[in-house]
């Protein structure tokens, strides 16, 4: 990863400096632009370090993160400088553009992977400390859903391989995990959103195999949605909030879905390259 950062980001940085190897230690003060870059770096250090660590999500244990930094032989600030350089030059890490989902079917799979990451993270948090007054039946059902979402998330991660986006940082600060109402309302929103997202993404998928895979998952999300809705209020599994007068469920395009999900995802997502039709 660091090697890639060096290749992708450091060389363009050098290219932008005139005679970089002759400028010696003073080269960062040669122009105000570099001074600005340096102060930007100060501001962005923490954020960029997070981004870089997210890139390392596959090595999720803290020990492994430390090992990575040690192996890299660079302090966080050093990496942040490179990252800031990337940011300035619009290279692979660009805080404003965000994590790019990619294009074509890979882009759609990454889009699904992003949503499954969100759902899995939510149910993991739910199941790590269930809301007060939970019944044994609810505990069992929510644990099942957690496992399904983890299975979906890991499936996409493996299926995408090197094309997979990094682990996303979520923001559940507006959810009260000790409240049944708050947890189930959020679950309902996520499940209904997930169903509409897969339904809307179907036409954007080119490969029949991927389409069938999306179909295998969306009906399970719909089962979750129905169950969660019934837990909130029995009989609302398919009410007029989600089903129209033709008996059709909702479908939403990626931009709309990501807009709705955005408050729960800290990491910025760039969906500009996704198929449009």
């Amino acid at each position: 990863m660091l090697f890639f950062l060096l290749r992708a980001c450091f060389f363009p940085l050098l290219k932008n400096n005139s005679k970089p190897f002759e400028s010696g230690p003073r080269r960062y003060s040669q122009s105000t632009e570099h001074l600005k870059l340096f102060s930007d770096m100060e501001n962005l250090t923490k954020k960029d370090e997070q981004i870089i660590l997210q890139e390392q999500d596959i090595l999720s244990a803290p020990l492994q993160r430390r090992s990575f930094l040690r192996y890299a032989g660079a302090g966080a600030a050093g990496i942040a400088l490179l990252a800031a350089g990337c940011k300035k030059d619009g290279m692979m890490i660009d805080g404003s553009a965000g994590v790019n989902l990619g294009s074509g079917d890979v882009g759609i799979l990454n889009y699904a992977y992003a949503l499954e990451q969100l759902e899995a993270a939510f149910y993991i948090k739910v199941a790590s400390s269930f809301y007060s007054g939970i019944t044994e039946a609810e505990r069992s059902l929510l644990s099942d859903i957690r496992d399904h979402e983890i299975a979906h998330r890991e499936f996409f991660k493996n299926a995408l391989g090197s094309n997979a986006i990094p682990g996303l940082e979520v923001d559940f600060s507006m959810i009260n995990f000790s409240s049944r109402d708050s947890v189930l309302a959020t679950a309902k929103a996520f499940e209904d959103l997930g169903v509409s997202a897969y339904n809307g993404a179907g036409v954007l998928i080119k490969d029949a195999g991927y389409l069938t895979l999306a179909g295998k998952i969306v009906s399970v999300e719909a089962r979750h949605a129905a169950l969660i809705r019934d837990l909130i209020s029995n009989g609302t599994f398919a009410n007029s909030e989600v089903i129209d007068a033709n008996g059709l469920d909702k479908s939403r395009l990626p931009m709309e879905v990501l807009g709705i999900a955005a408050p729960f995802i800290k990491t910025k997502i760039n969906a500009n390259d996704l198929p449009k039709s």
């Binding site: 496992d147 499936f155 069938t212 895979l213 969306v218 008996g247």
Partner: protein, 278 residues
């Protein structure tokens, strides 16, 4: 490469190329005769036109076939719930009757929607078959003979219809690639059937069935009589990726099978519903 070689090459990847070009093979003989009469240089043009026509027609026929197939299944479900709601004393008043009525309405809406879709494509919707919900092929004395007098039998058949419907739509999705709105509509029906399935399963659970809103392994929760509707659901590997214990996660075999619903082919579905169609 002459035209015959081109067709042979295509046949390697599309075994049905001759049928696509014309359902009657004699049309090919006619084409060969035609080819002899025209200048060699114009063959690519003639070939392109022929293929465009052949594949466009095939695509359209595929879409129509999917819609007619779906309509037949929706007729089945719609009449089933209509009769269930109408059967005095079958479904308990209150939440149960409310849910079954909701589902009935959706199935009737699906019938109307699919008829409209077919008509707007210039196709004639198939007529509603005569059904035997006892699964007796018209004898009305099949294994579910008490379907409209025994609530548990009714729910068991409902669950099977819903879970089978989910698998049927899923199996047809690939045939609708490129159909745009038709694919989206099919997906939007597909997830509604899954919502129905989840609720019916909870209704059965409330009456003592050992069942969840999702399908575990190939468990029917009903018995061997509906096994064909659940065969294949026990899949633990998706696209070559083993889901059980994936990446060191505590994903049990049960969870791995529950997390993915499996499709069925049209032939499999037709075999399943055959006893219900007179």
């Amino acid at each position: 490469m002459n035209i015959l070689n081109i067709l042979e090459e295509i046949e390697k990847t599309d075994a049905e190329v001759y049928e696509r070009i014309s359902p009657r093979r004699k049309a090919m003989a006619e084409f060969y005769g035609f080819g002899k009469k025209i200048a060699l240089a114009s063959i690519p043009f003639a070939l392109g036109t022929m293929f465009k026509k052949a594949y466009a027609q095939t695509a359209s026929a595929d879409v129509e076939a999917v819609l007619q197939f779906a309509l037949t299944l929706e007729y089945l479900e719609a009449e089933f719930y209509t009769k269930g709601v109408a059967a005095a004393g079958l479904v308990p008043a209150g939440p149960a009757l409310g849910a079954i009525t909701t589902i009935r309405d959706h199935e009737n809406q699906h019938v109307a929607f699919l008829k409209t879709a077919l008509t707007s494509l210039g196709k004639t919707p198939v007529s509603k078959p005569t059904f035997d919900f006892s699964a007796g092929n018209g004898s009305n004395t099949g294994p579910f003979a008490n379907v409209f007098s025994n609530y548990d039998t009714f729910l068991a058949v409902a669950q099977t219809f819903e879970d089978t419907g989910v698998r049927a739509y899923k199996g047809q999705a690939g045939a609708l690639i490129g159909s745009g709105g038709v694919l989206t509509a099919a997906l939007n029906i597909h997830s509604v059937e899954a919502r129905h399935a989840a609720h019916i399963r909870q209704m059965r659970k409330a009456r003592g069935a050992n069942i969840k809103p999702w399908i575990t392994g190939q468990d029917t929760g009903i018995g061997a009589i509906v096994q064909a509707s659940y065969a294949g659901e026990e899949l633990e590997t998706q696209a070559g990726v083993k889901i059980t214990g994936i990446n060191g996660q505590m994903i049990s075999a049960s969870a791995a099978t529950e997390a993915f619903d499996e499709p069925l082919t049209k032939a499999q579905i037709l075999a399943i519903v055959d006893p219900f169609i007179v």
